[in-house]
Symmetry: C2
Subunit: 199 residues, 2 copies
């Protein structure tokens, strides 16, 4: 009995996560959640206070996963440039977009301080992490000293989030990849003296 109870609540959370990613908060009805979860009419209100409460649980879980994935690459092996490269090139389901970023286009999420909080915190945390890697790269002479870590981090994160927009518009991941390659070319550590060599 207990385990069945846990499992219904789990199914509700996972179904909500999928639907939020596919259709957003505004486009996800309680009915659609129940149908996907194969759960009965009253089960949402048995386990959660309602759609906002269930959505908050789902968003928090998705946000934690995203943060852990980013941390794994950014704390991984390699130079600062290589870690930012790994973050930008990590395997993504580009045409599905970012399950956290897409929520910012959802008017009801943005209008709710509670629902927006995990989105804001996650994006801010990843940005701060990338800013730290850039500062590390500056100390190692890999990035120009005049670059601002927080600004470069915002550009890195924006390129990913905007890359999804470009890819979804075109119906192909190619535009995402192009944006990432463009940013990496700009970020690429300068090899002093090379341009001074005669051709």
């Amino acid at each position: 009995m207990y385990s069945e109870c846990v499992s219904t609540s789990e199914r509700l959370i996972e179904s909500t996560r999928e639907l939020l990613w596919e259709r957003g908060y505004v486009g996800t009805s309680p009915k659609a959640i129940l149908e996907r979860a194969g759960a009965g009419q009253g089960s949402m209100y048995h386990h959660f206070k309602g759609k906002p409460d269930l959505a908050l649980t789902a968003i928090r879980r998705t946000a934690e996963e995203l943060r852990a994935t980013a941390e794994a690459v950014l704390a991984g092996p390699g130079t600062p440039y290589e870690r930012i490269e790994a973050y930008l090139l990590r395997e993504r389901d580009v045409l599905r977009g970012c399950p956290v970023g897409r929520l910012t286009m959802d008017p009801d999420v943005i209008a709710s301080p509670e629902l927006r909080a995990p989105v804001d915190e996650t994006i801010a945390a990843v940005r701060e992490r990338i800013a730290g890697v850039v500062e590390e790269g500056k100390r190692l002479g890999q990035f120009a000293p005049e670059l601002d870590g927080a600004e470069i981090a915002a550009a890195v994160l924006a390129t990913v989030q905007g890359g999804y927009v470009l890819a979804r518009a075109a119906g192909s991941p190619a535009a995402f990849d192009a944006g990432v390659r463009g940013l990496l070319a700009l970020l690429s550590p300068r090899t002093p003296g090379v341009s001074d060599q005669p051709a």
Copy 2:
């Protein structure tokens, strides 16, 4: 009689444009459009084949406006770098996001080749225009010859589109501005020889 008829159709289009920007396609009901337009029940079907047809007209108009705005800056005065800078820094209602880009997060827009077409065409056209400016800057020696115009253009456009995501998550335009400054710092024309001068 005729002018009243034109005006109802205009009100329907303009109301749809506003609602698509605020709430997206999925979040915009025919009822909400009629209410905002102050139009009667049957008027949508009198002027349009239905919500998709009205939305297509609205999206096309918004897309044309966006393209014209981008063209005005990118074809404006200044060096290639200055024109890309002007494009990135042009006045924007950052927290409202991009009325065209936000549609890519709309599952029903992406699922419809007809509704996606103006979104795709507009983003592709602006990207091509920026790529041309980058190539021009390469010829003038303002950008490094190894940079790929199409890739840099994708990074520029992605920084703008992703900047909206960052800003809306944070509830403040600051993150958008930071990303733009970060990209501009990376794009900034190199002044050959300066780094070789003794301090």
